[in-house]
Symmetry: C2
Subunit: 456 residues, 2 copies
Amino acid sequence: MSLDAVLSHIDATLPQALDRLMDLLRIPSISTDPAFKPDCARAADWLVSELSSLGFQASSRPTPGHPMVVAHGGTGSAHLLFYGHYDVQPVDPLSLWSRDPFDPELQDTPRGKVIRARGSSDDKGQLMTFVEACRAWKAVKGTLPGKLTLFFEGEEESGSPSLVPFLQTNAAELKADIALICDTGLYDDKTPAITTMLRGLLGEELTIHAANKDLHSGIFGGAAANPIRILSKILANMTDAKGRVTIPHFYDGATELPDAIRAQWQSLSFDHAKFLGDVGLSIPAGEQDRTPLEMLWSRPTAEINGIWGGYTGDGFKTVLPAEAHAKVSFRLVGDQDPFAIRTHFRKWVEDQLPADCSATWHGHGNFPAGAMSIANPAFEAARQALTDEWQVPAAYIGCGGSIPIAGYFKTYLAMDAMLIGFGRDDDQIHSPNEKYDLECFHKGIRSWARILARLT
Amino acid sequence: MSLDAVLSHIDATLPQALDRLMDLLRIPSISTDPAFKPDCARAADWLVSELSSLGFQASSRPTPGHPMVVAHGGTGSAHLLFYGHYDVQPVDPLSLWSRDPFDPELQDTPRGKVIRARGSSDDKGQLMTFVEACRAWKAVKGTLPGKLTLFFEGEEESGSPSLVPFLQTNAAELKADIALICDTGLYDDKTPAITTMLRGLLGEELTIHAANKDLHSGIFGGAAANPIRILSKILANMTDAKGRVTIPHFYDGATELPDAIRAQWQSLSFDHAKFLGDVGLSIPAGEQDRTPLEMLWSRPTAEINGIWGGYTGDGFKTVLPAEAHAKVSFRLVGDQDPFAIRTHFRKWVEDQLPADCSATWHGHGNFPAGAMSIANPAFEAARQALTDEWQVPAAYIGCGGSIPIAGYFKTYLAMDAMLIGFGRDDDQIHSPNEKYDLECFHKGIRSWARILARLT
């Protein structure tokens, strides 16, 4: 039986596939809120049931948090692991939703039909593209494509506390030839993409301490250290006039873009003016000698995500505060070591403090960047499959955000990962009125069928 | 009858004077809170009643806010105006008070007896030192000392919105030879002082606007302008490595200290190490080539009183915010023009903004500095009187804070002012458990009797 038969079956049974997705979307599996713990377990059980019906050996595996779903099925020399997550973001503020976030609906919009619900794009709709591709394959061919391990997490939206221990404990069971991760997007509305570069992340919160209490700026102003001024000077020093980060050793390990990727990115003709114009800006910030896409995908950054100190209410208070605070995050690339950068950053800050001031620290998340080598032929095979489906050359892209799972697969399972997803920029993930385009769901299923045909 | 008789009468009747102060302290005349408007009127009426009983022509004069109390009495060639304020600060947080702030009590402490109540030092206890001096004078001599105008404000703690219009409307009635203002402190626990230099104040709140909405720092970080970074760079630029303010024309009109005042300040042997050490600091900030007292009293400053932007809650959010905010205040000296500095500051900030960012402004209070010329012989006369009472040479001092009333008397009534007060640094004005030392109240009354004897 040919791939065409599988694709035809996908087309013919799309309404049933949509019904199944709707069932999953009705389960409010908000992982960060303990009130929804039973719902998370219910979503895991629902997946186990679906996968079992397709012939997988599937189970819901307890963790200290929400369960992992692991399913094994099929035979063959190629062993693929597929990852998605069944948990969703909270829905606040509910008042901004046009309908109940857990009462999914297929809606007509000027840009086509959309599936409106929390989790439709992130990530239930995406993970179901793969499940439905397997179902169609099985229906048409009688077997699953290749040897498959499906691995669904229920804590992705709440920091994945159980993920690394689970990978470590179950490494032998989960290891495959390559991982397929479906939690990213298209390059643009029409262009499919494989994300091969993910930036790492280091979050740091610092507090500068000066006097032992808040002072009156009329009495102590000028003469006594102002921690807001000290913090401002340090944050101002963090980048130079050319937009380069000045922290010593910050760029250690920040490798340059491979030529093949650079050439491919250049062919994307990224519209930087539109990218900034859409958010009301026009002047590129950051390193002045880098192209826009490099800044977004392959260069490390140091951003200030929050700052506070002194009086911030209505009116005016001439206070000279005892403390000032900032939250700073670093996006990391290549082999930049988040632990080394944490050490360098803290020392660099402390070296700038007057001797009678001090800093205290609160480290937030940290994980290194992930860069996939496209030398693995699976990448080019998948790219061809996507190109066939979308009729537009698929792109190797970077992702400015940070998806730690790909790095974890590399670190703990010694396994490359391909990030292939079908989300669109306007899906409003993490926001009210999340949607997933029916076209993305449909062509996503078809894309996986084509990829599986080439990889197995 | 001699001055000694007046002083003896003050000593003999101190318990009754204290009882009267307690009556005034029981009235919760919090001017900033509309709920206490009747109490403010009641405090004004109480003063009118007291002053009328001493032979003053006293009245409570309505304003759009709280009433002014104006009283005229006595005869003689010397015409003195005395200023104080009967309103008080709010008392929040009430939980930090050891007793009801409006149930005053005389308490024994290791450092002597204190009058514990909101307003005991700021400013009811201080204004009553003058009233009680007049009472003793009248009791002993049968007349009031000289020609007196007493002027009590009820909006000092809430920005004095009615003050300038009232001064303008009633200039002829209020004009005297010199004003006496009792709303300041001793130089130290034992040394009386006349404050001759008051700094002006300019308050500015600025908002830096970048993108038209909050962005994800993983997607836009590096490439899009970060208003916190822009704000930090601007605030960092506001002072150079030597602590000098870099805003163009900022120092225009910032006159140098007169030699006589400089010599007098040097004799004070100000303990800068202790001043900073008391608040946990050791390294002088501000202009490196200025003496500590210059920094505190006679040099202009630019301080950051508040800053906020982005995510400031628990945990971490990789937001690249649309806006960042700061509150900045400038202390002004000599002839620095607050309106000119506002203009220069705003232009200086805006000149540093990327073309796709903007700033919006909210101006808070502004008034120029006040410097009294000690050439007026009243100053030396008052200084001698204070020296006689406290048995320590009285000091001409500056005040880092800003008391606009002295400048207003100069501007609207063409009248010099002497600021003489008896507060101590540990009075906790504006804070919970405000107190006024009984010694300060007692010697304050005696000091005014001696000053009145020399001036009338």
